[in-house]
């Protein structure tokens, strides 16, 4: 790892350009194509099957099997479904993608299902006549009135910026200005880069994506602080690129990311579809956080330190030169004074 860090520690400018490019690309892509929302926040075509309570309780699975078979025939993909039983009726609502072609297929499926259920519930010959089933089918289109309110995202953005300022202040007081800037900037990079990558990859997101970006800001600054602590312990040594690389909290960051990553993979593998996408987004954010904490933070710190040291050196050099110049001036003046005095003495 140290070999990789030794190479990347001098590449801060390149990394900053890449990160800024990703951010700009994500903004442009989102502005053109919009946010890729999860199914629950998208417009949809729906098909509702209403079933009387007794049949709902006894044989809902049979109803659903008939529906699933018809959807397969029509080439329809169910994005998700909701089941509800209230009062005398229960209903199953199936959600499909929006669009005219899907709508046409849903209407066809509705017609076929209505015929099939009518045949199955026929009082004379129906397969389900003994169970007194009453089933109706309807198709509709749902258009979202609001998806993610803009002010949710805006306030999340303000929260991240405020946190970056507070992290900067804390780290600056504890470890110095350069550490403060590094910690503050790392918080911003963690949150914004995570958001950029999630938006660029067009992962389906809900409001819970904001949680991931907020936590990413915190995690990145924690990683930065781990490194700043180690650098502070070596503050009496001269800061070099190698020292910065050695002080990077590689073990701690890698341990955290491996353990957390495995836990996320477990959650994503065992749990169902919606939590899976959330776990994937969190995993992507984890990779970004580790990149910023492990690779970008030491590079940024080293760049700032170099510039600060150079400035201090230049100021010292300027001070030295100025002192020398003043000395030469004073010596010249003294010499001129001596010459003038000698001339005066000669004249006398």
């Amino acid at each position: 790892m140290n070999k990789i860090l030794s190479k990347t520690v001098n590449k801060e400018t390149l990394m900053s350009i890449v990160m800024a490019t990703l951010l700009v690309l994500s903004i442009v892509l989102t502005a053109i194509f919009g946010v890729s929302y999860a199914a629950t926040l998208r417009n949809a075509n729906t098909l509702t099957v209403t079933v009387n309570q007794s049949f709902y309780n006894k044989r809902l699975d049979d109803v659903k099997s008939v529906c699933d078979a018809e959807f397969n025939k029509q080439g329809l993909t169910v994005e998700y479904s909701e089941e509800s039983l209230v009062g005398a009726d229960g209903e199953v609502i199936y959600y499909f993608a929006s669009g005219a072609d899907v709508k046409a297929k849903v209407e066809t499926a509705k017609g076929k299902l209505a015929e099939m259920f009518a045949a199955k519930t026929d009082e004379t010959n129906g397969e389900w006549k003994e169970d007194l089933a009453e089933i109706s089918v309807s198709a509709a289109q749902e258009d979202m009135q609001v998806q993610m309110p803009v002010w949710y995202a805006l306030r999340a953005l303000i929260a991240v910026v405020v946190f970056a300022a507070l992290a900067f202040a804390y780290a600056a007081i504890r470890h110095g200005l350069i550490s403060g800037i590094t910690t503050g900037v790392s918080a911003l990079c963690g949150a914004f880069l995570s958001a950029a990558v999630v938006l660029l990859t067009r992962m389906p997101i809900t409001n819970s994506a904001l949680y991931i970006f907020g936590i990413s800001a915190i995690a990145t600054s924690v990683f930065a602080m781990l490194t700043m602590n180690k650098l502070r312990a070596k503050k009496d040594e001269q800061t070099t690129a190698d020292l910065v690389v050695e002080s990077t909290a590689v073990k701690e960051i890698c341990t955290f990311s491996v353990v957390f990553g495995v836990a996320l993979i477990l959650v994503g593998a065992v749990a169902t579809w919606s939590t899976r996408w959330f776990a994937i987004a969190a995993l992507v954010s984890l990779v970004v956080t580790v990149f910023v904490g492990l690779i970008y933070v030491p590079a940024l710190y080293w760049l700032l330190k170099k510039r600060s040291d150079k400035k201090a050196f230049d100021n010292a050099q300027y001070g030295k030169q100025r002192a020398e110049k003043q000395e030469r001036k004073a010596a010249k003046k003294a010499a001129e004074t001596v010459v003038v005095e000698e001339q005066q003495t000669d004249e006398e």
Binding site: P149, Y152, I212
Partner: protein, 491 residues
Amino acid sequence: MGKKKSVVLMVLLTILIVAMSVITLIPFPVSGTQSFNPTVLQYDLGADLGGGYYVYYYPEGVKTETEYEADKPTDEIEAEKYAADYVKNGSLYLSKESKYNLVNNKTGEVDDAFQAQFAKAAQVIADRFEARGYSDYRVAVVDDYALRIELPASDATVNETLSTYHYTGKVTLTKGTSAAATELTELQEDGAKITDYISGFTVANNYKWSYLKINLTQAGKDLMQGLKNELATADSASSSSTALYLQIGDAKLTGIYQDNITDNDIRVMFVESNAQLVKTYEVLLNSALHNSFEFDFEVGQVCTFEAVYGENVLTLLYIALGVAMLAIIVLAIVLMGGYGVTGAYASMTYLVVVATFFAFITGNAAFEITLGSVLIFLVGFVLMNVLQYHIYHAIKTEFSLGKTVESSVKGGYKKTLWGIVDIYAVALLGALSLLIGAAGLSTLAWQAVICIVTAALCNLLWARAINYMLLSASKNKYKYFRFVREDDDDE
């Protein structure tokens, strides 16, 4: 600490942690049909984990396909006449009756004015749910002329919210008995507006109760002082008492009695007046105050739905979390030996404390558990264990310098103390900053504060105390830490 004392303390502590863990995690039968619900089954869950409620709002004169088919006459001729009385739009049937003004009878198309009014009503209602600040909610227009609203299961005021948020019409004050109240004469004057007297509505708190504060303008204060003595007191209120009624259109929301009126405002409490309920009315009334128009909706039955992607999502998530946590604890014991056992105690304490706080902190808002809560719980848990490893590494480094085990432990803790404080301080600043976020992010911020503070206390104090006791009780301090003494090497 003596060995015997340490052993006794550790046994007691172990029994306590095991007991708390069982109460937190394991459901078990109590008697017959009753069973004990552990803490983890008592959460207010967001829609992604716990499902929620939904309802339809239909404009008056609009029928669903199911209702239309149910009301359809069997006679063919009557059925034709029946069909001619409606315009079909998707799964909705709009009545052509002139009293509803839905259809332009000249063109046979949906009336433009109705379309515009519906669009406005849909926007106002959507804005109300947005202002209410749910972490997860859904407002959708169904086939152009109906609304479908979904709210998370954590909303304890769902009935009030869904049954009132369709109210349109102007905010007004009426005076009289509950059966016969008329609008105040001051509000009936030409050009009079309610905003001349009421500037807005806010939620205020009085100890553990919340109440709705009706903010008055100067004219409103004067009006209320003039009316106050005509009203009955709340204690003596009956169906024949004179009271003021706050209404939206024809719908009475609450009565106002003499004791509700102060010099500057009106203060109204509701039955079970918690902050969520009062917030519901605050948003509704502020919306109606500034958006006054007439549009009548009929409300369908409130239905429940399971977690969107399956009723087992919570169980599966708990299993996944359990496996992950167990793996981390086992890994810690494998890597760090006895010190890993310290980590195990700290981990179980973290689990019990955080799970309990998540369940029983409700305060004035639903402490909604969402996927974000799971994430921040995991972050705190992993961070705590990683820092335990960091401390172990520092102790090991001290030991490699030739110090005794006790000195190494002391030195290791000393060297890592401020670093760990820094990390938790920055994390806590992050959690507090997230309070600026809206809705679910604000709730997540409080959950993050709980996780971070608990993890910090576990790392800095609790694990240290447990380590002290375990170390005192251990037979071989080197084996405890899995250290190798130099003389062992020589052997």
